[in-house]
Protein backbone atom coordinates (compact mmCIF):
# COMPACT_ATOMS: atom_id res chain seq x y z
CA UNK A 1 0.00 0.00 0.00
CA UNK A 2 0.97 3.61 -0.33
CA UNK A 3 2.23 5.29 2.83
CA UNK A 4 2.54 9.04 3.37
CA UNK A 5 5.68 9.90 5.32
CA UNK A 6 5.82 13.17 7.29
CA UNK A 7 8.49 15.69 6.38
CA UNK A 8 10.45 15.06 9.57
CA UNK A 9 11.18 11.55 8.28
CA UNK A 10 12.06 12.38 4.69
CA UNK A 11 15.72 12.12 5.68
CA UNK A 12 15.05 8.37 5.83
CA UNK A 13 12.86 7.91 2.74
CA UNK A 14 13.91 10.75 0.47
CA UNK A 15 10.30 11.23 -0.64
CA UNK A 16 6.85 11.75 0.88
CA UNK A 17 5.13 8.66 -0.56
CA UNK A 18 6.53 5.15 -0.27
CA UNK A 19 5.18 1.65 -0.83
CA UNK A 20 5.11 -0.83 2.02
CA UNK A 21 3.29 -4.05 2.81
CA UNK A 22 1.83 -5.56 5.95
CA UNK A 23 -1.35 -7.22 7.13
CA UNK A 24 -1.37 -4.94 10.17
CA UNK A 25 0.06 -1.53 11.01
CA UNK A 26 2.77 -3.25 13.05
CA UNK A 27 3.74 -5.45 10.11
CA UNK A 28 3.75 -2.47 7.78
CA UNK A 29 6.05 -0.62 10.19
CA UNK A 30 8.36 -3.63 10.17
CA UNK A 31 8.50 -3.37 6.38
CA UNK A 32 9.23 0.36 6.61
CA UNK A 33 12.06 -0.40 9.03
CA UNK A 34 13.45 -3.02 6.63
CA UNK A 35 13.44 -0.48 3.79
CA UNK A 36 14.52 2.54 5.82
CA UNK A 37 16.57 1.42 8.85
CA UNK A 38 15.96 3.50 11.96
CA UNK A 39 12.63 4.97 10.90
CA UNK A 40 10.42 2.82 13.13
CA UNK A 41 12.01 3.87 16.43
CA UNK A 42 11.48 7.52 15.60
CA UNK A 43 7.69 6.81 15.41
CA UNK A 44 7.14 3.91 17.82
CA UNK A 45 8.85 3.56 21.19
CA UNK A 46 10.52 0.45 22.60
CA UNK A 47 7.29 -0.56 24.34
CA UNK A 48 5.35 -0.58 21.08
CA UNK A 49 3.54 2.70 21.68
CA UNK A 50 3.07 5.21 18.87
CA UNK A 51 4.97 8.31 19.96
CA UNK A 52 3.06 11.25 21.35
CA UNK A 53 3.33 13.53 18.34
CA UNK A 54 2.77 10.97 15.58
CA UNK A 55 -0.73 10.49 14.14
CA UNK A 56 -1.86 7.61 11.90
CA UNK A 57 -4.87 7.86 9.58
CA UNK A 58 -6.37 4.93 7.70
CA UNK A 59 -9.60 5.03 5.72
CA UNK A 60 -10.32 8.56 7.04
CA UNK A 61 -10.07 7.53 10.69
CA UNK A 62 -7.31 8.07 13.23
CA UNK A 63 -5.92 4.85 14.67
CA UNK A 64 -3.73 4.15 17.67
CA UNK A 65 -3.60 0.34 17.75
CA UNK A 66 -0.69 -1.18 15.85
CA UNK A 67 -2.67 -4.43 15.57
CA UNK A 68 -5.21 -2.73 13.29
CA UNK A 69 -5.58 -4.82 10.12
CA UNK A 70 -4.81 -3.18 6.78
CA UNK A 71 -6.09 -3.88 3.30
CA UNK A 72 -3.45 -4.21 0.59
CA UNK A 73 -4.91 -1.48 -1.58
CA UNK A 74 -5.46 1.23 1.02
CA UNK A 75 -3.38 4.24 2.05
CA UNK A 76 -1.83 4.85 5.43
CA UNK A 77 -1.16 8.48 6.27
CA UNK A 78 1.54 9.14 8.86
CA UNK A 79 1.34 12.74 10.04
CA UNK A 80 3.12 14.90 12.59
CA UNK A 81 0.78 16.27 15.22
CA UNK A 82 0.40 20.04 15.20
CA UNK A 83 2.76 20.48 18.10
CA UNK A 84 6.37 20.99 18.95
CA UNK A 85 8.19 24.28 18.77
Amino acid sequence: MRVLIPSALHSYTGRPWVDATGATVAALFDDLERQFPGIRFRMVDEQGQVRRHIRLFYQHAMLFDLATPLAADGELLIVQALSGG
Partner: protein, 382 residues
Protein backbone atom coordinates in the same frame (compact mmCIF):
# COMPACT_ATOMS: atom_id res chain seq x y z
CA UNK B 1 40.60 11.89 30.54
CA UNK B 2 43.85 12.29 28.69
CA UNK B 3 43.89 12.43 24.93
CA UNK B 4 46.21 10.19 22.98
CA UNK B 5 45.58 10.97 19.33
CA UNK B 6 44.79 14.66 19.20
CA UNK B 7 46.46 17.83 17.98
CA UNK B 8 46.84 20.37 20.77
CA UNK B 9 46.57 23.38 18.45
CA UNK B 10 43.24 22.48 16.83
CA UNK B 11 40.58 23.37 19.35
CA UNK B 12 36.92 22.93 18.45
CA UNK B 13 33.96 24.01 20.52
CA UNK B 14 31.04 21.60 20.22
CA UNK B 15 27.83 23.53 20.82
CA UNK B 16 24.56 21.62 21.25
CA UNK B 17 21.32 23.58 21.25
CA UNK B 18 17.58 23.18 21.30
CA UNK B 19 17.55 23.71 17.53
CA UNK B 20 20.70 22.03 16.24
CA UNK B 21 24.47 21.84 16.67
CA UNK B 22 27.37 24.10 15.75
CA UNK B 23 31.12 23.59 15.68
CA UNK B 24 33.47 26.53 16.27
CA UNK B 25 37.00 25.88 15.03
CA UNK B 26 39.58 28.03 16.81
CA UNK B 27 43.00 29.09 15.63
CA UNK B 28 46.09 28.33 17.68
CA UNK B 29 45.77 31.60 19.61
CA UNK B 30 42.03 31.07 20.20
CA UNK B 31 41.49 34.52 18.73
CA UNK B 32 39.51 33.73 15.60
CA UNK B 33 36.83 31.13 15.22
CA UNK B 34 35.37 29.55 12.10
CA UNK B 35 31.74 28.55 12.49
CA UNK B 36 30.48 25.30 11.00
CA UNK B 37 26.74 24.81 11.23
CA UNK B 38 23.97 24.36 11.78
CA UNK B 39 24.05 20.62 11.86
CA UNK B 40 20.65 18.96 12.39
CA UNK B 41 18.78 22.26 12.19
CA UNK B 42 15.57 21.96 14.17
CA UNK B 43 16.68 18.86 16.06
CA UNK B 44 17.04 18.99 19.82
CA UNK B 45 20.70 18.18 20.49
CA UNK B 46 21.34 17.53 24.16
CA UNK B 47 25.01 16.62 23.95
CA UNK B 48 27.78 16.60 21.35
CA UNK B 49 31.01 14.87 22.35
CA UNK B 50 34.26 13.97 20.55
CA UNK B 51 36.05 10.83 21.65
CA UNK B 52 39.38 12.01 23.14
CA UNK B 53 40.83 8.51 22.64
CA UNK B 54 40.77 8.60 18.84
CA UNK B 55 40.18 12.30 18.18
CA UNK B 56 37.66 11.51 15.44
CA UNK B 57 34.49 9.81 16.69
CA UNK B 58 31.84 12.45 17.29
CA UNK B 59 28.49 11.50 18.84
CA UNK B 60 25.35 13.63 18.97
CA UNK B 61 22.36 12.86 21.19
CA UNK B 62 19.33 13.98 19.17
CA UNK B 63 15.58 14.03 18.99
CA UNK B 64 12.99 16.38 17.55
CA UNK B 65 9.75 17.76 18.90
CA UNK B 66 7.86 15.06 16.99
CA UNK B 67 10.19 12.08 16.72
CA UNK B 68 11.80 9.64 19.09
CA UNK B 69 15.40 9.87 20.31
CA UNK B 70 18.47 8.67 18.50
CA UNK B 71 22.25 8.98 18.30
CA UNK B 72 24.16 10.26 15.28
CA UNK B 73 27.81 9.47 14.70
CA UNK B 74 30.45 11.17 12.59
CA UNK B 75 34.12 10.34 12.02
CA UNK B 76 34.87 13.39 9.84
CA UNK B 77 33.92 16.22 12.22
CA UNK B 78 30.37 16.43 10.98
CA UNK B 79 30.91 16.40 7.23
CA UNK B 80 28.80 13.24 7.22
CA UNK B 81 26.66 11.57 9.85
CA UNK B 82 25.46 8.02 10.36
CA UNK B 83 22.57 7.12 12.64
CA UNK B 84 23.11 4.52 15.36
CA UNK B 85 21.75 1.15 14.30
CA UNK B 86 20.38 0.63 17.80
CA UNK B 87 19.94 3.81 19.89
CA UNK B 88 19.46 3.61 23.67
CA UNK B 89 16.11 1.94 24.46
CA UNK B 90 14.78 0.23 27.56
CA UNK B 91 13.88 -3.44 27.60
CA UNK B 92 10.45 -4.98 28.21
CA UNK B 93 8.82 -4.84 31.62
CA UNK B 94 10.50 -7.05 34.24
CA UNK B 95 10.41 -7.50 38.01
CA UNK B 96 6.76 -6.43 38.01
CA UNK B 97 7.82 -2.87 37.20
CA UNK B 98 6.21 -0.60 34.64
CA UNK B 99 7.79 -0.61 31.20
CA UNK B 100 9.61 2.62 30.31
CA UNK B 101 10.57 4.42 27.11
CA UNK B 102 13.56 6.67 26.56
CA UNK B 103 12.42 10.24 25.94
CA UNK B 104 15.89 11.52 25.12
CA UNK B 105 19.53 10.73 25.62
CA UNK B 106 20.91 13.48 27.80
CA UNK B 107 24.54 12.65 28.55
CA UNK B 108 27.29 11.00 26.53
CA UNK B 109 30.57 9.84 28.10
CA UNK B 110 33.51 8.11 26.39
CA UNK B 111 34.76 5.06 28.29
CA UNK B 112 38.15 4.30 29.75
CA UNK B 113 41.29 4.82 27.64
CA UNK B 114 41.96 1.08 27.82
CA UNK B 115 38.50 0.32 26.42
CA UNK B 116 38.41 1.91 22.97
CA UNK B 117 34.95 1.99 21.47
CA UNK B 118 33.20 1.91 24.82
CA UNK B 119 30.78 4.77 25.49
CA UNK B 120 28.20 5.36 28.19
CA UNK B 121 24.91 7.24 27.87
CA UNK B 122 22.48 8.64 30.44
CA UNK B 123 18.86 9.20 29.53
CA UNK B 124 15.60 10.81 30.55
CA UNK B 125 13.86 9.18 32.29
CA UNK B 126 16.84 7.89 34.23
CA UNK B 127 18.60 5.06 32.45
CA UNK B 128 22.19 3.93 31.95
CA UNK B 129 23.33 2.54 28.58
CA UNK B 130 26.58 1.32 27.08
CA UNK B 131 28.00 0.89 23.60
CA UNK B 132 31.08 -1.19 22.83
CA UNK B 133 31.32 -0.27 19.15
CA UNK B 134 31.84 3.47 19.19
CA UNK B 135 28.20 4.43 19.57
CA UNK B 136 26.53 2.39 16.80
CA UNK B 137 24.72 -0.12 19.02
CA UNK B 138 23.54 0.60 22.55
CA UNK B 139 22.27 -1.74 25.26
CA UNK B 140 20.91 -1.19 28.77
CA UNK B 141 23.83 -1.29 31.16
CA UNK B 142 24.02 -2.45 34.76
CA UNK B 143 21.13 -3.56 36.89
CA UNK B 144 19.87 -0.14 37.80
CA UNK B 145 17.36 0.45 34.98
CA UNK B 146 15.08 -2.31 36.22
CA UNK B 147 16.07 -2.59 39.85
CA UNK B 148 13.08 -2.05 42.19
CA UNK B 149 15.16 0.01 44.62
CA UNK B 150 16.57 2.21 41.90
CA UNK B 151 13.13 2.61 40.38
CA UNK B 152 12.00 4.02 43.73
CA UNK B 153 15.00 6.35 43.84
CA UNK B 154 14.27 7.58 40.29
CA UNK B 155 11.00 9.07 41.56
CA UNK B 156 8.35 10.01 39.04
CA UNK B 157 8.46 12.31 36.04
CA UNK B 158 6.87 14.92 38.29
CA UNK B 159 9.88 14.71 40.60
CA UNK B 160 12.36 15.53 37.87
CA UNK B 161 13.55 18.71 36.24
CA UNK B 162 11.24 20.71 33.92
CA UNK B 163 12.71 18.88 30.91
CA UNK B 164 12.35 15.49 32.58
CA UNK B 165 14.35 13.52 35.16
CA UNK B 166 17.86 12.79 34.00
CA UNK B 167 20.82 10.48 34.52
CA UNK B 168 23.99 12.50 34.03
CA UNK B 169 27.60 13.01 35.13
CA UNK B 170 28.75 9.54 34.07
CA UNK B 171 32.38 9.36 35.19
CA UNK B 172 35.00 6.68 34.54
CA UNK B 173 37.97 6.73 36.91
CA UNK B 174 41.02 7.12 34.62
CA UNK B 175 42.99 4.89 37.03
CA UNK B 176 40.41 2.07 37.05
CA UNK B 177 37.93 1.22 34.28
CA UNK B 178 35.86 -0.72 36.83
CA UNK B 179 35.33 2.37 38.98
CA UNK B 180 32.31 4.34 37.78
CA UNK B 181 30.14 7.16 39.04
CA UNK B 182 26.88 8.66 37.84
CA UNK B 183 24.38 11.15 39.20
CA UNK B 184 20.66 11.66 38.79
CA UNK B 185 18.29 14.61 38.97
CA UNK B 186 16.73 13.42 41.06
CA UNK B 187 18.14 10.35 42.66
CA UNK B 188 21.56 11.09 44.11
CA UNK B 189 25.16 10.19 43.27
CA UNK B 190 26.11 6.53 42.83
CA UNK B 191 29.34 4.58 42.62
CA UNK B 192 30.41 1.20 41.25
CA UNK B 193 33.67 -0.62 41.98
CA UNK B 194 32.86 -3.64 39.84
CA UNK B 195 32.47 -2.20 36.37
CA UNK B 196 28.80 -1.40 36.81
CA UNK B 197 27.58 -4.78 38.02
CA UNK B 198 26.41 -3.03 41.15
CA UNK B 199 26.12 0.55 42.35
CA UNK B 200 25.73 2.07 45.80
CA UNK B 201 24.61 5.60 46.75
CA UNK B 202 27.23 8.19 47.61
CA UNK B 203 25.20 10.98 49.19
CA UNK B 204 26.43 11.39 52.76
CA UNK B 205 26.93 15.05 53.59
CA UNK B 206 24.67 16.28 50.80
CA UNK B 207 21.78 18.54 51.75
CA UNK B 208 18.23 18.24 50.47
CA UNK B 209 15.46 20.83 50.26
CA UNK B 210 14.18 21.69 53.73
CA UNK B 211 11.30 19.45 54.66
CA UNK B 212 12.54 16.41 52.78
CA UNK B 213 14.27 13.46 54.43
CA UNK B 214 18.00 13.32 53.47
CA UNK B 215 18.07 9.57 54.15
CA UNK B 216 15.73 9.08 51.17
CA UNK B 217 18.00 8.88 48.11
CA UNK B 218 15.24 10.05 45.77
CA UNK B 219 15.27 13.51 47.35
CA UNK B 220 18.91 14.18 46.45
CA UNK B 221 19.42 16.34 43.38
CA UNK B 222 23.03 16.59 42.20
CA UNK B 223 23.14 18.90 39.18
CA UNK B 224 26.68 18.22 37.99
CA UNK B 225 29.51 16.05 39.31
CA UNK B 226 33.07 16.32 37.99
CA UNK B 227 36.24 14.35 38.72
CA UNK B 228 39.52 16.27 38.76
CA UNK B 229 41.55 15.44 35.65
CA UNK B 230 44.73 15.91 37.67
CA UNK B 231 43.55 13.96 40.72
CA UNK B 232 41.02 11.16 40.26
CA UNK B 233 40.56 10.94 44.02
CA UNK B 234 38.92 14.37 44.15
CA UNK B 235 35.36 15.11 43.05
CA UNK B 236 33.42 18.35 42.98
CA UNK B 237 29.66 18.68 42.79
CA UNK B 238 27.16 21.42 42.03
CA UNK B 239 23.92 20.39 43.68
CA UNK B 240 20.39 21.74 43.93
CA UNK B 241 21.44 22.49 47.50
CA UNK B 242 24.96 23.86 47.31
CA UNK B 243 28.49 23.15 46.08
CA UNK B 244 30.46 20.19 47.47
CA UNK B 245 33.84 18.49 47.37
CA UNK B 246 34.68 14.87 48.11
CA UNK B 247 38.20 13.51 48.63
CA UNK B 248 38.42 9.76 48.31
CA UNK B 249 38.64 7.34 49.96
CA UNK B 250 36.38 9.51 52.08
CA UNK B 251 32.67 9.18 51.48
CA UNK B 252 31.22 12.34 53.02
CA UNK B 253 30.66 15.33 50.76
CA UNK B 254 31.78 18.64 52.26
CA UNK B 255 29.77 21.73 51.38
CA UNK B 256 32.24 24.31 50.07
CA UNK B 257 29.84 26.90 48.70
CA UNK B 258 28.94 28.56 51.97
CA UNK B 259 31.53 31.28 51.41
CA UNK B 260 29.90 32.60 48.27
CA UNK B 261 28.14 35.93 48.92
CA UNK B 262 24.74 35.45 50.50
CA UNK B 263 23.02 37.50 47.80
CA UNK B 264 24.46 35.16 45.16
CA UNK B 265 24.24 31.83 46.93
CA UNK B 266 25.74 28.51 45.88
CA UNK B 267 22.94 27.20 43.69
CA UNK B 268 23.58 26.55 40.01
CA UNK B 269 24.02 23.88 37.39
CA UNK B 270 27.47 23.79 35.74
CA UNK B 271 30.81 23.15 37.42
CA UNK B 272 34.14 23.15 35.62
CA UNK B 273 37.52 21.91 36.88
CA UNK B 274 41.04 22.96 36.04
CA UNK B 275 42.84 20.40 33.85
CA UNK B 276 46.01 20.47 35.98
CA UNK B 277 45.14 21.96 39.39
CA UNK B 278 42.77 20.06 41.66
CA UNK B 279 42.22 23.13 43.85
CA UNK B 280 40.70 25.24 41.08
CA UNK B 281 37.05 25.10 40.05
CA UNK B 282 34.57 27.44 38.40
CA UNK B 283 30.81 27.66 38.89
CA UNK B 284 28.04 29.81 37.47
CA UNK B 285 25.62 30.68 40.28
CA UNK B 286 21.92 30.91 39.50
CA UNK B 287 18.98 32.49 41.26
CA UNK B 288 17.51 29.61 43.24
CA UNK B 289 15.38 31.69 45.57
CA UNK B 290 11.62 31.43 46.13
CA UNK B 291 10.13 30.27 42.79
CA UNK B 292 13.52 29.35 41.34
CA UNK B 293 13.79 31.93 38.54
CA UNK B 294 16.80 30.06 37.06
CA UNK B 295 18.36 33.36 35.99
CA UNK B 296 21.60 35.12 36.89
CA UNK B 297 21.23 36.58 40.39
CA UNK B 298 20.08 40.19 40.05
CA UNK B 299 20.35 39.99 36.27
CA UNK B 300 24.12 40.37 36.68
CA UNK B 301 25.88 37.21 35.47
CA UNK B 302 29.18 36.14 36.97
CA UNK B 303 31.48 33.18 37.17
CA UNK B 304 32.88 32.36 40.60
CA UNK B 305 36.25 30.67 40.95
CA UNK B 306 37.97 28.94 43.81
CA UNK B 307 41.74 28.44 43.82
CA UNK B 308 41.93 26.70 47.17
CA UNK B 309 39.53 23.80 46.92
CA UNK B 310 36.51 25.82 47.93
CA UNK B 311 37.71 27.69 51.02
CA UNK B 312 37.33 31.01 49.21
CA UNK B 313 35.69 32.24 46.02
CA UNK B 314 36.43 35.11 43.66
CA UNK B 315 33.85 36.81 41.45
CA UNK B 316 34.71 37.10 37.73
CA UNK B 317 32.35 39.28 35.72
CA UNK B 318 34.64 41.55 33.66
CA UNK B 319 33.23 41.73 30.15
CA UNK B 320 29.90 40.18 31.10
CA UNK B 321 26.74 42.33 31.11
CA UNK B 322 26.58 44.60 34.16
CA UNK B 323 22.79 44.53 34.42
CA UNK B 324 19.53 43.29 32.90
CA UNK B 325 20.94 39.98 31.68
CA UNK B 326 18.42 37.35 32.70
CA UNK B 327 20.01 34.26 31.27
CA UNK B 328 21.81 31.41 32.93
CA UNK B 329 23.97 28.42 31.98
CA UNK B 330 22.84 24.80 31.94
CA UNK B 331 24.80 21.94 33.52
CA UNK B 332 26.52 20.77 30.30
CA UNK B 333 26.97 24.24 28.84
CA UNK B 334 30.23 25.30 30.53
CA UNK B 335 33.63 23.80 29.97
CA UNK B 336 37.41 24.37 29.86
CA UNK B 337 40.14 23.71 27.36
CA UNK B 338 43.58 22.42 28.38
CA UNK B 339 45.80 25.28 27.17
CA UNK B 340 48.50 26.76 29.42
CA UNK B 341 46.25 29.67 30.31
CA UNK B 342 43.07 27.71 30.60
CA UNK B 343 40.27 28.87 28.34
CA UNK B 344 36.75 28.77 29.71
CA UNK B 345 33.61 28.64 27.59
CA UNK B 346 29.92 28.77 28.35
CA UNK B 347 26.70 28.92 26.38
CA UNK B 348 23.60 30.65 27.69
CA UNK B 349 19.91 29.92 27.76
CA UNK B 350 19.51 32.96 25.49
CA UNK B 351 21.86 31.58 22.82
CA UNK B 352 25.11 33.42 23.49
CA UNK B 353 28.51 31.75 23.50
CA UNK B 354 31.08 33.38 25.82
CA UNK B 355 34.75 32.66 26.36
CA UNK B 356 37.66 33.67 28.56
CA UNK B 357 41.28 33.07 27.68
CA UNK B 358 42.66 33.89 31.13
CA UNK B 359 40.86 31.43 33.38
CA UNK B 360 37.75 33.53 33.84
CA UNK B 361 39.13 36.97 34.64
CA UNK B 362 38.02 38.60 31.37
CA UNK B 363 35.10 37.50 29.22
CA UNK B 364 34.04 38.21 25.65
CA UNK B 365 31.10 37.08 23.55
CA UNK B 366 32.05 34.67 20.79
CA UNK B 367 28.61 34.22 19.19
CA UNK B 368 25.09 35.59 19.60
CA UNK B 369 21.62 34.70 18.37
CA UNK B 370 21.99 30.94 18.63
CA UNK B 371 19.09 28.84 19.96
CA UNK B 372 19.03 28.00 23.66
CA UNK B 373 22.36 26.32 24.37
CA UNK B 374 22.21 22.94 26.08
CA UNK B 375 25.86 21.87 26.00
CA UNK B 376 29.34 23.17 25.22
CA UNK B 377 32.32 20.82 25.04
CA UNK B 378 35.91 21.36 23.93
CA UNK B 379 37.56 18.93 21.54
CA UNK B 380 40.99 18.39 20.01
CA UNK B 381 40.51 16.47 16.78
CA UNK B 382 43.26 14.17 15.62
Amino acid sequence: MSAQNTKPDHLVLLVATRKGAWLYHGDAARQSWRVDGPHFLGHIINHLVLDPRDGRTLLAAAKTGHLGPTIFRSTDLGQSWQEAAKPPAFGPAVNGLAARSVDHTFWLAPGHAAEPGVWYAGTSPQGLFRSTDGGMNWAPFSCINDDPQYRQWFGTVQDGTPDGPKLHSIIVDPHDAQHLYFAMSGGGVHESRDGGQSFVPLVDGMDVVEGFDPTDISFHDPHCVRLCPSNPDRLYQQNHCGIYRLDRPGSIWVRIGRNLPTEVGDIGFPLVLHPRDDRTAWVFPMDGTEVWPRTSPGGHPAVYATRDGGSSWQRHDAGLPASQAWWTVKRQAMTADRQDSVGLYFGTTSGELWHSLDEGRQWSCLARHLPEIYAVETAYPG
